[in-house]
């Protein structure tokens, strides 16, 4: 799979490229000194700055390349491997460019944004390497669509079974299906928050006193239906209730997988919501950095 050999693409070819880039930058940096202090203002500083700026633009182009499926400019896999390794090398190039001199200015802003982009990229790399295994283990080979199809089917079965049960059970099961919460906002997805509800009727006669209560992990409704089994007046009713419990438990299992899948996919994609906007902020800061340097040079 792609995520397993991004770093080792073609024997870690781009790791060597990155090392070469670092060595070249260090060599350029080392020729500084004497008359001028190391920094962005020496010819070496300009050379390293140009190298860094070109690298940033090229690294950004990955986003464009991966959307161009017809491109012949190398495989997306190769580009991604180079993106990771050369992106990491960029920290060294930029630090040598500025000679590690920082201040409260637009130049350091560009550096900080660059570091933030790279750090978010490192986090992204981590989740790309770690999450797919967890995703596969969770879904057991089934796609999310299949899980939802199963859920829909279980919903229908649950409703039909509940209809023939006593009104309390019917209300509880119907409400638990209607009030099943999946996903939602950012934190609900990422933390797999389950604020499902159901309407609990304490007794058949007292259905009017029903109240919406938490049905986290569907346990509430399962417990409620299970409690009714011993009270079943007829064998057929008990059978219905037991069939209902089986459906609800299968539903519980499917919902667990769905929530975990949403959570893992969320973390797998979250870093891009930081990485991409910060990249564009970095490009803007790079323009500001270069422009201001030449406006007041």
């Amino acid at each position: 799979m792609i995520h397993e050999n991004i770093l080792r693409y073609r024997g870690g070819r781009y790791a060597w490229w990155a090392l070469g880039l670092i060595a070249l930058s260090a060599l350029i940096y080392a020729t500084q000194g004497g008359r001028q202090q190391p920094g962005g203002g020496t010819w070496q500083g300009y050379a390293l700055g140009t190298l860094g700026a070109l690298l940033i633009v090229w690294l950004t182009l990955l986003g464009m390349r991966k959307r161009r499926y017809r491109s012949n400019l190398g495989s997306v896999q190769g580009w991604t491997s180079a993106h990771v390794w050369l992106g990491l090398a960029l920290v060294v190039v930029a630090t040598l460019h500025c000679a590690a001199r920082f201040g409260w200015n637009v130049h350091t802003l560009a550096y900080v944004l660059m570091c933030a982009v790279i750090l978010s990229g490192i986090f992204g790399l981590y989740v790309y390497l770690a999450t797919p295994r967890q995703l596969a283990a969770n879904s057991d080979g089934r796609s999310r669509a299949a899980l939802f199809a199963e859920l829909f089917d279980l919903d229908r079965k649950g409703r039909e079974l509940a209809k023939v049960c006593d009104p309390g059970v019917n209300v509880a099961v119907k409400s638990s299906i209607e009030r099943t919460a999946i996903g939602g906002g950012v934190w609900r997805q990422l933390l797999a928050v389950d604020d499902s509800l159901f309407m609990r009727a304490d007794s058949v006669a007292d259905a009017g006193a029903a109240a919406l209560v938490s049905n986290a992990d569907q346990q509430g409704v399962i417990d409620q239906v299970a409690q009714r089994v011993p009270q079943a007046a007829k064998r057929a009713e008990a059978g219905n209730l037991q069939a209902l419990i089986v459906v609800l438990c299968r539903r519980q299992a499917v919902l667990r997988r769905i929530r975990r899948d949403i959570q893992l996919q969320g973390w797998l994609r979250l870093w891009l919501y930081i990485h991409v906007p910060l990249t564009f902020a970095l490009l803007a800061a790079l323009i500001v950095h270069i422009m201001s340097t030449f406006m007041y040079w």
Binding site: G103, N105, G185, Q189, R269, L283, W297
Partner: protein, 571 residues
């Protein structure tokens, strides 16, 4: 209201099947969510897509925000419905039909057969893209924010600042472009206004901006002389003095390479200017020293004046021409000269006093350095009468007045006698004068004047020319004395730092470099040459040598611009 929902399904044999559901509710919700009265799946169906409200005659549909439905083929967000109307949402058809008895409303639902139950996911927000998180929006926001706060607003603030308008503290000014702190002095002078130095955008800081404050800083080479070279235009101030670097390291570039870059090739690049190549600090790399001596530029004029000129000459062959007769050997010989105060031999500091700068010496003058021993008395009988120094005419008049007064004094303390020096005898013979008293006095005065200007007194130290004029005031011309005060006007040298060196201090330290002990002539030059410096110094720090950089002795910006032809204005 009581609603009949009739779901149409195509059975396996092609026949239509009905599945009726009865609902009693105030409103009917339509959407993909499980709690919708009419649950429809598929693309184009939101979790909660629309709501049907009203009664039979006034039934209306209102789609939720961002949703639409096709009402009789026309996309609409809301509509009033009548019997027979067709509502299409995501390929599903809902038709309002005539309700059977007992129902207010009846709806036939024909689901979209293409939609699989896996589309149920659309009823939920299961992807971050469905939340408020937005890559594109955030990217635009951040990029515009950075461009505005980092470039556009600061750029817009420049004309306001130049117009003297002060900006509120929260408005980013061009200060955000600073590449680093200024040195404290510049921070104090111009730290709040970038435009003090950066007067034009996209233009390097110009020397004129520097010179607005640094008015007295001299150029390394005079412009007229630079034109004789192949060095090209002078460098901008800021090429060496780079601001916004670490404030602690200052602005002065001390790297030897700065000097050597030009001076190593001085024979080829300096054109008509005669500049000896320098590549380092050793006998082979650095030229021998040349001193700047102040020398007579003309003969003595009839009024006793001379023109002077500063000449650069190699230390090895240079001779002083100060017009002073002085023997260091004689003054340092304790058998001949001792200090009045303690009768010990004279030391260097008895005559030479280091100035406060630690580099130069307070000029040696008659009054300051010689007068304590060398009184200008002329008559042993009148030890309190001294001749004025530096004013030969006044001295002659004083001698004449002195003897005239004695001749006419009715109560002389001493008689006016003619002193006559006999050949080969130090004893003067005194003979009585006969004739008019004034005549006697003038003859006596003339004898003393001759004595002072030809034999002793003035003639001891000064070059006196006898013009043989009949007019006594014009007869003797004393050549003026000019002692060179600064032998290396463009070089730093701290005498104070060298007052203690190796195992020597005091006069020992002075004499280690200035070997004056055996000098009997004031033409001798005691300035040490390069070799003397190299005894203790070298280009790089070693165990035996103290490192010296070019800038330890030389200034890029000279105190005076030495004309490279070898002469300079006399200071």
């Amino acid at each position: 209201m009581d609603v009949l929902l009739r779901q149409l399904r195509q059975a396996a044999d092609g026949a239509l099947e009905y599945q009726d559901t009865e609902v009693t509710a105030d409103s009917l919700s339509v959407g993909a969510a499980a709690d919708c009265t009419i649950q429809l799946l598929g693309e184009g169906v939101a979790a909660h897509h629309a709501t049907l409200r009203g009664r039979r005659a006034q039934l209306s549909i209102a789609c939720h925000r961002g949703c639409k439905a096709l009402i009789n083929g026309v996309a609409s967000a809301s509509a009033t419905l009548k019997i027979g109307d067709l509502i299409e949402i995501g390929g599903h058809s809902l038709r309002l039909v005539e309700p059977p008895a007992g129902f207010d409303i009846a709806i036939e639902i024909e689901p979209n057969a293409q939609v699989a139950t896996s589309q149920y996911e659309r009823a939920f927000r299961t992807d971050l893209s469905a939340t408020w998180l937005s890559k594109r929006g955030a990217a635009w926001f951040l990029a515009v924010l950075v461009l505005a706060a980092g470039l556009l607003i600061p750029y817009g603030s420049i004309p306001l600042q130049r117009a003297g308008r002060s900006l509120p503290a929260f408005v980013p000014s061009d200060q955000v472009w600073t590449a680093g702190p200024l040195i404290p002095a510049h921070q104090l002078a111009a730290g709040r206004s970038c435009g003090s130095c950066h007067q034009q955008v996209f233009v390097h800081v110009r020397d004129a901006a520097c010179r607005e404050c640094h008015k007295s800083t001299a150029d390394h080479v005079a412009t007229a002389q630079l034109a004789q070279t192949r060095l090209g235009p002078p460098q901008r101030c800021a090429q060496c003095h780079q601001e916004h670097h670490a404030a602690s390291s200052g602005l002065i570039v001390r790297d030897d390479q700065l000097c050597i870059d030009c001076h190593a090739k001085s024979d080829s690049r300096f054109g008509a200017l005669k500049v000896t190549p320098v590549t380092g600090f050793s006998r082979t790399e650095h030229p021998a020293f040349t001193v700047t001596l102040i020398k007579p530029a003309s003969a003595l004029s009839a009024s006793g004046q001379m023109d002077w000129v500063a000449r650069r000459e190699p230390v090895a062959s240079a001779r002083e021409q100060s017009n002073l007769n002085f023997s260091h050997a004689q003054h340092l010989d304790p058998a001949r000269v001792t200090r009045q105060s303690d009768s010990r031999a004279l030391g260097c500091a008895d005559c030479h006093t280091l100035a406060v700068d630690g580099e130069h010496f307070i000029p040696v003058t008659m009054q300051r350095s010689c007068a304590s021993c060398h009184e200008l008395t002329f008559d042993p009988a009148a030890p309190d009468r001294q001749l004025p120094h530096g004013k030969p005419r006044d001295a002659i008049l004083l001698i004449q007045d002195y003897y005239a007064r004695q001749a006419v004094d009715p109560h002389p303390t001493t008689s006016v006698v003619q002193r006559r020096r006999l050949p080969d005898q130090t004893v003067e013979e005194e003979t009585a004068c006969s004739g008019p008293a004034l005549g006697c006095a003038m003859r006596r005065a003339q004898a003393e004047i001759d004595n002072q200007f030809k034999t002793k007194g003035c003639a001891s130290c000064h070059n006196v020319t006898d013009t043989h004029s009949n007019e006594v005031l014009d007869r003797f011309l004393v050549a003026p004395v000019r002692l060179t005060r600064d032998y290396f006007p463009d070089v730093h040298f701290s005498h104070r730092a060298h007052a203690v060196q190796n195992d020597k201090s005091g006069d020992g330290a002075c004499l280690a470099c200035h070997a004056v002990q055996k000098s009997t002539s004031s033409a001798d030059l005691f300035i040490p040459n390069l070799g003397k410096c190299l005894e203790c110094h070298s280009e790089r720090l070693t165990k035996e040598r103290v490192a010296l950089q070019c800038s330890d002795c030389h200034s890029y910006h000279p105190k005076t611009i030495i004309a490279r032809t070898g002469e300079a204005d006399v200071q």
